[in-house]
Symmetry: C2
Subunit: 239 residues, 2 copies
């Protein structure tokens, strides 16, 4: 259903899964450059650090400032509560699952399928808001370890959500095949230096919730998310 | 993946979507007659009447009393919180959607896709518990108005959940092609008169949350759910 991504119907409204991070902010800019009406959805699910939630308003303000058109197109931001993620995480693991997860390199507190939950809730909200396109930052390139971010999964979810809500729901994942340097490049193409600087200075990706300023943005500088972001930025500015 | 429903691997563990109603209680009995390990999951999502939640323990006790084997196989009951359903329900409708919903005969507070959410959360919990079969009371026969209960939707969700969690998840819907009389019949075949009486006296289906005792069970006797249940029971005992 997404064979012609550059030939989209701008009259469709889009709901962007927006966490306040680099990827979802780039996705938001991508949606604002294509659709007449764009809303955002975020989830409070007991994240270790609430930084992710507190940067949302400032990133959204920054996005509005990029262009009058984006300001006009950007509608409501929805923040929904998903305590169920923590409830599932607190559920005892069976021995069998525990071993599989350790082999995966994922912590025991990790709840597989989280993105499926986010997409399902987003589709339910989108239905009520009359929006038929969901936009998410899922990406195979850097995080192939997360099966709920893979393209096959996203295509299957699009089918299931469309059937289950008896409406044509489209899932768009503009970052699916990009690496982190290309994601910075996309931001520059969409919103120029102003968007790149907004992402660099305001968005939050760090696993530890730290906000030290580096040349590539804010974060602890050591966690895997910071390393990925720093490496991507260096390749981007090196281009 | 469910071509041979009578040739199941009993060593697989099952998680039953259990609301304390007639349908899900019958599904629980169905699962207990097939799988060595069975757990239950329910959702508190701000139901109009909490009767549905309060009958759960007594129905589960009644199920344990049906046979020592069922008592041995029946494991933990998980009750998870989904305030997100009410949050979405409180979200303003666009004019477009409102019209569509009224044409549907569904109330404005109805949140389409609810069953997709329940299945997704159930799959996430099942993963952590090492259970690979989800059992739900979805049915095309009586409720064809709900697209998230249709067989095509369930098959698509099975595919999406399996891909997204990188594991073989099976969705079983033993009531899919049964009418309400046949659902009573199935209960009798699975657990005899004792199960039929448990369902009749303890389970809750009534939309209004009333518990008056009728020959066909408890409820207000007037709402669509009571009418469906009463008609089914009369056809069942008339057989």
């Amino acid at each position: 259903m997404t064979d012609r991504p550059d030939n989209m119907d701008a009259r469709r409204g889009a709901l962007v899964l927006f966490s306040g991070g680099q990827d979802s902010t780039t996705c938001l800019a991508w949606a604002l450059s294509r659709f007449e009406r764009v809303e955002t959805i975020g989830f409070d699910y007991g994240q270790r650090h609430l930084v992710e939630l507190t940067v949302r308003p400032s990133v959204l303000d920054g996005i509005r400032a990029v262009s009058p058109e984006w300001n006009r197109r950007l509608g409501e931001d929805h923040l929904l509560n998903l305590p169920v993620v923590a409830e599932i995480s607190d559920t005892a693991l069976t021995g069998e699952v525990e071993i599989a997860m350790l082999a995966n390199g994922l912590p025991n507190t990790f709840v597989p399928g989280r993105n499926l939950l986010f997409l399902t809730v987003a589709a339910m909200l989108a239905y009520r808001r009359g929006l038929t396109v969901l936009v998410g930052g899922m990406c195979e390139t850097d995080f192939s370890g997360y099966p709920d971010c893979r393209n096959d999964t996203i295509r299957a979810m699009q089918q299931a959500l469309s059937l289950g809500m008896a409406t044509d729901i489209r899932l768009e994942t503009p970052l699916m095949w990009l690496d982190k340097a290309q994601t910075w490049q996309l931001a520059q193409e969409l919103g120029g230096e102003q968007l790149v600087e907004l992402i660099r200075l305001e968005t939050h990706t760090c696993y530890l919730g730290e906000r030290h300023l580096h040349d590539w943005g804010r974060g602890c500088g050591h966690c895997p998310a910071c390393e990925l972001r720093a490496n991507g930025y260096r390749r981007f500015v090196g281009n």
